[in-house]
Symmetry: C2
Amino acid sequence: MVSRRDSAAATRRALLDAARQLLDEGGPQRVTLREVGARAELSRGAPYRHFADKESLLAAVGAESWERIADALALLQPTSSRKPAALLLEALDALMTVARVEPEVYRMMFTMPTREPEPSIRAAARAQGEFLRIVGSLVGPERAHLYGAMLLTSAHGVASMDASGHLSPQMWQTTPQAVVSALVDLLAERAD
Amino acid sequence: MVSRRDSAAATRRALLDAARQLLDEGGPQRVTLREVGARAELSRGAPYRHFADKESLLAAVGAESWERIADALALLQPTSSRKPAALLLEALDALMTVARVEPEVYRMMFTMPTREPEPSIRAAARAQGEFLRIVGSLVGPERAHLYGAMLLTSAHGVASMDASGHLSPQMWQTTPQAVVSALVDLLAERAD
DNA sequence: CACTCCAGATGACAATGTCAACTGTAGGAT
DNA sequence: ATCCTACAGTTGACATTGTCATCTGGAGTG
């Protein structure tokens, strides 16, 4: 039995999936509301029943990725086998993995309109909150903000430049992971 | 006396200026080839005499900013009054200033298509070469690559997240400058 | 069973990127 | 001086696309 609410949620999901798929195929330009509708086996105007406009649809895709990252980070808890430093690397890798696997989606996570109550901003804030917790467990709460900012922005920066091709491998003879890892090491010795 | 070549160069300049202006007013969507032509007091098809398509025009704007940064960095030479660390901060600030003053142009510097022979990529590589030189003068050539990567990507990351509003000031109680400055300090002590 | 609400479909329109065809002129060739 | 050519710039035309107004059908409600 499919209630109307469930059906609406399902089509919204289908629209988001179609948008994400198209985004990855060829960037925002490739995402056409008509094609999104077609991939969801709907008509061209269907997306307007779920999203205000194209920008909102793309923003929702980006916000969803922030949500996923926040969820993944929330699951990262220190155990006896997982040292804080390893945890931290995993957390940073969660972000950089999106940049590597879905570069266009990753770009959308930061390209979105930035009015305050935007879902993308809120989800990003939640993810950053989780991240702060992880950093704090390594370097202590008093340094968490500064070190957290250094780590997160560094991870984003290297992932972003790598994804956009502006970080030529022959020039920087290091991988994004190595850069972030070196920074973690540097900060870890200051943690004692 | 205006030769034909000079005239062509002048209109190309006018088109680039119009595009940059429109870009800053409202992002890539605001940049319409018709409006670019109008601002340059030309017709709608005029841009096609100088750029292959809209993407190329925007890419040229981004490449130009990379050129400017490369030029600015080339002028940064260590003197008795300018210590290497201060020089390094100036270099990083050159990048972050673009992000603050012309956020949309800054975004374009990294959003562009990334085929290898792209002017934007080449200009970025030049800028990064200059930057490497400055970093090397502080930490020595052997660490220049890794530390340079850490510094540049961190600057880009924090500037980018700040510009897109995904770095909420109340959460990260630090400014972009403070983040980068702290990282410079951290690396500088390792330089001895 | 009648009514309401809303997801979805469709027609229409304006904006825009893009190209083909055309025009005028600067600067060299004859 | 005259003709020719290359090319910057213009204009007409077209397909694509975002967006809205309007219409339709069926699920839920009384």
